[in-house]
Amino acid sequence: MTHRKLLRTTALVAALMGGMAAPVLAETPPNMLVIANRIDDIKTFDPQESFEFAGADVSRNVYEKLVNFDPMDLDAGFGPQLAESWEISEDGKTITFKIAEGHVFSSGNPVTAKDVEFSLRRAVKLDKTPSFIITQFGLTADNVDEMVQATDDMTVSVTLDKQYALSFVLNCLTATIGGIVDMETAMANEVDGDMGNEWLRTNTAGSGPYKVVDWKPNESVLMDLNPNYHGDKPAMERIIVQHIQESATQRLQLERGDIDIARNLSPEDVAGAMEVDGVKVLDEQRGQIMYWAANQKNEMLSDPKVLEALKWSVDYQGMADSFLKGQWIVHQAYLPLTFLGALEDKPFGLDMDKAKAALAESGFPDCGPIKISVREAQERMDIAQSLQNTWGQLGCEVELIVGTGAQTLDRYRAREHDIYVGAWGPDYPDPNTNAGTFAANPDNADEAGNTGYLAWRNAWDAAAFNDGTLAAVVENDTEARKQMYLDSQAQFQQESPFGIMFQRIEQSGLRSNVENWVVGGATTAVSYWVVTK
């Protein structure tokens, strides 16, 4: 080819590209919902074992629970689902559930009290990570057969070790672990007494609107309608969730119309996608909060005045407005907004004068070296760098110790950090979930190994909070209970070694014809069955 010919060809290609610059739109079928999401955290679909975000999304659409949230009215709190009503015994320790007629598992078996009994006992006996949500009511492998009993085909009673706030118990039953499994199917697939655990890792046996028909780890989850679902037939007959790691790739697919929903768009891609016709962006407040915490084994960081100085020298709004734009909002209390008793007050802002004054009053006016332990995720690193900058202005020498999620978590659990920058998501939709982890520490000794408590991980005694946290879970007057959490959080903001900074906003990119998309707010997971397009 001569030079001229080559030039001509290049020009031709360029012209062709210019002429075809308008994107060609594809479209997904009207009864099918195609979603791009990061789903590499799914380990199992067994509701009594699953404890990951993407797993909870599947579970909510496959398994029904005794009580559950209405996706169209999340603020209303839990309401009846498999249980049509419930009663509390006089001593307040036994709750008796009446099971509603007409619910049927995808296998065709009707949902009975025996299935409920089986599932709740199973949650305790399997003793997988989320089992504490149920066992915190005094249920053990030894007593659960006695405490959870189906008294007839449609009645099941649950007895607890003492009286708890009813809302606390029922909120816990809305968690993934409360999913009711088809006993007959599970036991037909039992291996070595595992109550079907191995089989239910990759298969589902629920009475919810959908059932999983195919799962390729790190690749896709396919759900079809449960033909026996008792409720209205959902508009979306098939749900396809594809694992797409990259935000830019998700955005391209969304703009092209190859997918209906993109769930992991970066702030830049959200801004870009908003400009495109046929695409809309939906914000939803979620339950995760972002915080820094100071290890109380470090003498300087256990000085209350130093902690105060650090809290005043954080650029909360600056971060929220810049690199976190739209995906985290400033929030300074341990309960996420929309939880019962969530505190909206934000007492701290960036005020270097106040910070310097507090530091001057402390035992460490020169500040000292601080090591921030942070995992190599972009937004965490950005936050840590901002802290490094503003704390540096106080005269503190700040070093970032960057590691993988596993490495930093190991250090955190071993109480080896100075400052840890992390995010925390509620385990179940009751205020006790975060109160119990942030504002309680039954035994601060190293040997206690109470790694489940964030207070313990920071070697913080939390003595002033322990009793209040315990009292709140047995308070049956909801208003009084709410006030207890409000008071606790206000005190926590001032005294604790935790600097809570942000609450998560999930931004979903949707094709503009998608309606009723609900990712679950702060309390639950996504609901596909109400979506229309």
């Binding site: 994107p23 003793d127 990570t129 780890p217 596993a406 190991d410 489940g452």
Partner: protein, 352 residues
Amino acid sequence: MTEVTQHSEDRRGPVLPPWLKKLAATLLTVAVTLLGLLFVTFMIGRVMPIDPVLAVIGERATQAQYDAAYLELGLDKSLLEQFFIYVRDVLSGDFGKSIRTGQQVTTDIARVFPATLELATLGTIIGIVLGVPLGVMAAVYRGSWIDQTARFVGLIGYSMPIFWLGLVGLLIFYGILDWVEGPGRLGVFYQGLVTERTGLLLVDSAIDGDWTVFKNAFGHIILPAALLGYYSLAYISRMTRSFMLEQLNSEYVTTARVKGLSERKVIWRHAFRNIRIQLITVIALAYANLLEGSVLTEIIFAWPGLGSYITTSLLANDMNSVLGGTVVIGTIFVGLNIFSDLLYRFFDPRAK
């Protein structure tokens, strides 16, 4: 003296034919290499400052659940003991369970490997088909525009980050021009339509005669394969050029020209013939690199292959998967080495 010889011959047992000896020696080398690889990877995995138990149970588990998982993983045993147990299991085909997917590592790898194999093979084919002629031409027309172009193409291949080129490629050919399909191996509507035989979608759909699926699968693979092909093209053409230059400068080429042979015959019959052997090694290397090193491409194109499997496993501290994947990659490297060695012998009479 005789007796001693006799004695030593007795000890040697039956006399093996040379080819069998050679084969036995090769297999022994392979086994030792793989065992060494296994040992090093296993030890690195175990002494890394991260806790494998946490990967299993998550950060909310109680101490009792932690202890139970610790015992279940066999971490109470000594490192050496753990290693021997692991090797014993591997020999019986059991690579353990993946913590991340809850499935047998062998099942996982059987699922992800064909995806990588298909992508890397197509990528390498593209690299060979374009890279070898380009390299030859660049050497023949040294200093000409062809040579400059080849060098420029190579330079871009070396200096552009692959994820950036991948995204730009997606934007242009998928987003704007609509010439290729999007991320993933197959459109969602085509999944499960062909019988899974080899796991290679192009092959399986061709066997089934389902050309719609074939077309869709091809639309998905062509862009990432072209990208990988481009990267191996850069390497292959550069190596081809330098091999060819060496040959073209040698005396036998001058002699052939003086004898009046046509330029085509001189280049392809004489010079190229002599670089085939070197090229085989280069291509084997390029192929092996694509098989293990296409992680970024796999992530950009949501390609569910071995590279991204090993990487995400490593980040999640899922050591069984990492070890399983490493053994596969190691075996491929060793296998390709042996293969190129065999071809070497085949083409080079001196090696025989």
